[in-house]
Amino acid sequence: MTDRYPGYDVLARRWTESWNETTRQVIDQRLAVPREPRFFSATEWRTLSAVCDRIVPQPKDRPPVPLPAYVDQKMADGLLDGYRYAQMPPQGEAWQRGLAALDAAAKEAHGGPFHGLSAEQQDGLLRRMQQGNLIGKAWGGMPCKLFFEHRVLPDITHAYYAHPIAWNEIGFGGPASPRGYVRMGLDRRDPWEAVEAALGEGTDTRRKNNHGG
């Protein structure tokens, strides 16, 4: 993947009019998420980390967004979605059962735990889960497709796109309070928004993205 918004860093705007004090504290807390699991066991944590690496593969040239930590936080703090499919157990139980079942499927298919498999083998198992084709006692009646759609995908991807690193990647300005936006129309950009390299606002994209305005 190319760097669409080179040099753009939402966090550089932390002391501008786009961030109020409440927002600064909320984002600080997000960046300081505990990196050790509080909810998952060591075994579950290894499997979860491997799943996160495949659901949102991250580049090696920057520290990763700690996705397993955010999933653990949601479970440990009991942050609920507001609904649960009747066939699904409560969220923490769903994760524990789903991770164990995925490991069982890995052993059955490839003779080892999920985290030890190759990326291709891991993707293959995740695709089978997405299609509803992983079955076995370990699932305890929980449909693997629902587990994939309602736990694996949202819990991991929502955490990623709630992180400033992901906002930089997609050119989203992040916080906008009290200052909002002025230039509303098509092909209009406020000076504090990310500049897209391909649109050729000259060769100084990186400088414009660094000005911190």
């Binding site: 997000r30 593969p57 609904y83 499919y85 050119g171 989203f172 906008a176 909002g180």
Partner: protein, 547 residues
């Protein structure tokens, strides 16, 4: 950061939060629990808010209960999607049926002000014919309300909420000009307009409950685009900053972090008060009248949970209709990619609308729909990409990088009432020890036909503006209605046109639950208009000794 609004109630000791000042307070009257107040209102959203203000201004003693906290937006709201999920009702609910409803941000609120604290501010009138859907259009059920009277209440509601809108609205009978000028269009709204014009359809800037010029202590909207996550500047005219402050000034009391779990009824069958949970214990408030305004899930849940030997099927349920005829609205969308930068997150998300298909009946299905421009924030957007396309891995990250070039159109469509779609009580209990709601839903053939029609039309519109990589979001729903419908006779409805329950004369229901049909536009302005009417009706009934 300010003191935690979840830690302890803020509305107490003779004062309530001043929503317009950091750390500010306003005086609040307080009532005794052991002396009956004239009215208890359960819920403080689009239905409860106007009722609290209208009743207090009419001289009644009134206490409003909300299970959620009492926020001061200026200090409590971060500019952040995740953090602001604190505005939603995220307690457990069980969903099932052929098309289970996704509950949460799009159809619930848990705060003083209810879901109006985070609604998208779209403030539309129902098409007049919808009040007689059965007799005029041949589907659903008739409302016991006359559209001309509703037209007057819509005007009052639009004034009370300082709605910004176009000079001339393109559809329906004449209406007065909106109190505030329309907001300018953003890129996403411009594309809706171009697409509609290419198809020969009318469009208009959407009437919105966010001010386009200063109003009282509300500054004009600055186009942050976080509307669905709470307005941190108070430009949004939610109940929290409009009717609730009015209610306090007129002598109403608000109790925040107060979950009502049961309505008590006496030997004569009348309601006598509410049991509510606040600060760790169950308490009881005596009342001469009780209004339930908890929306289409919590309202039937409370009525069903208040069953007694005399009312074994729950309160106000001699018709057997409490919890039945739950309706949601179809909220499918079509998305595409533009060569231009759209940057759709700027400004309110739905700045332009076409209601054409609400006013054209040459279709092979019943009901109508509108569509609006879209501006999902990153977490909302990834939820669309994963749920509609099943994307993950590198493919997902690559698609997400197109964020600033995305464009989309999203419908709000009418789903028909069906008794099989309903709210019941599950065996599972919540943190208060109350049985959680089970929400059962399936789409009918008419619903599916309407959705397919809308998807086809929205796709045509996107193709007309040159969008590429077009895909459909086939499975989304949003607002709720039904579960305690109003009607002309007790056998086929739960409440009268005055929102008064047929069975228990001092029990009222005033929220989206009373809708017999749900229409093809966002419901909040209709809920608020009905609540304003109900307050007037209660005052009139009291004046002639009929309470």
């Amino acid at each position: 950061m300010a003191a935690d609004p979840f830690a302890a109630p803020r509305a107490a000791n003779g004062r309530a939060p001043d929503v317009f000042r950091h750390g500010g307070w306003v005086p609040m009257r307080e009532f005794s629990e052991t002396e009956a107040v004239d009215f208890v209102v359960v819920g403080t959203g689009a239905g409860g808010g106007p009722l609290l203000a209208g009743l207090a201004e009419g001289g009644f003693s009134v206490v409003g209960f909300d299970a959620g906290p009492y926020f001061r937006p200026l200090e409590d709201f971060a500019s952040d999607e995740r953090e602001q999920e604190k505005l939603y009702w995220t307690d457990e609910r069980i969903v099932d049926g052929a098309n289970p409803i996704t509950m949460g941000g799009k159809n619930s609120g848990k705060a003083v002000g209810g879901s109006t604290v985070h609604f998208a501010m779209v403030s539309l009138r129902f098409r007049p014919d919808w009040f007689k859907s059965r007799s005029v259009l041949g589907y659903g059920a008739d409302w016991p309300l006359d559209w001309r009277e509703m037209w007057d209440y819509y005007t009052k509601a639009e004034k009370a909420l300082s709605i910004s809108g176009p000079l001339r609205y393109p559809w329906g009978p004449k209406r007065p000009r909106y109190p505030y000028r329309a907001h300018e269009l953003n890129g996403a709204a411009e594309l809706l307009a171009r697409g509609a014009e290419a198809m020969g359809l009318k469009w208009t800037p959407t009437p919105l409950a966010t001010v386009s010029a200063p109003h009282g202590k509300s500054p004009p909207c600055v186009y942050r685009g976080f509307c669905r996550f709470g307005c941190s500047t108070n430009a949004k005219q939610s109940q929290l900053v409009t009717f609730i402050p009015r209610a306090l000034r007129a002598g109403a009391e608000i109790r925040d972090l107060a979950m009502v779990g049961r309505i008590e009824t006496g030997p004569d069958g009348r309601a006598t008060g509410v049991h509510y949970h606040r600060e760790g214990s169950w308490r009881f408030q005596k009342a001469r009248n009780i209004v339930v305004a908890g929306y289409a899930i919590e309202t039937p849940r409370l009525l069903l949970a208040s069953a007694t030997d005399k009312y074994p099927d729950g309160l106000a349920n001699s018709s057997g209709l409490v919890g039945k005829n739950l309706m949601t609205q179809s909220n499918q969308a079509v998305f595409g990619v533009m060569e231009q930068e759209v940057r759709w997150n700027k400004g309110p998300p739905s700045l332009a609308i076409t209601e054409h298909w609400n006013y054209d009946d040459r279709k092979d299905f019943a009901g109508g729909y509108c569509w609006m421009a879209q501006g999902p924030l990153p977490v909302e957007w990834v939820a669309v990409q994963t749920s509609s396309r099943g994307l993950w891995g590198l493919a997902l990250r690559e698609e997400m990088e197109k964020y600033n070039h995305q464009v989309g159109l999203k419908m709000v469509g009418e789903m028909l009432p069906d008794e099989r779609n309903r709210v019941t009580l599950a065996d599972e209990k919540d943190r208060y020890g109350l049985r959680v709601a089970r929400v059962t839903y399936g789409w009918g053939d008419n619903d599916k036909a309407l959705i397919q029609h809308a998807l086809g039309q929205m796709q045509m519109s996107l193709e007309a503006v040159g969008a590429t990589n077009i895909f459909r979001q086939e499975d989304d729903t949003n607002h709720l209605a039904g579960t305690a419908r109003m009607g002309a006779v007790p056998a086929t409805s739960v409440v009268s046109s005055d929102c008064r329950s047929w069975d228990i004369p001092n029990l009222w229901i005033c929220d989206g639950s009373v809708f017999p049909t749900t229409g093809g536009v966002n419901p909040s302005l209709t809920i608020t208009s009905i609540a304003m009417r109900t307050a007037d009706r209660i005052r009139a009934l009291a004046a002639r000794g009929d309470l």
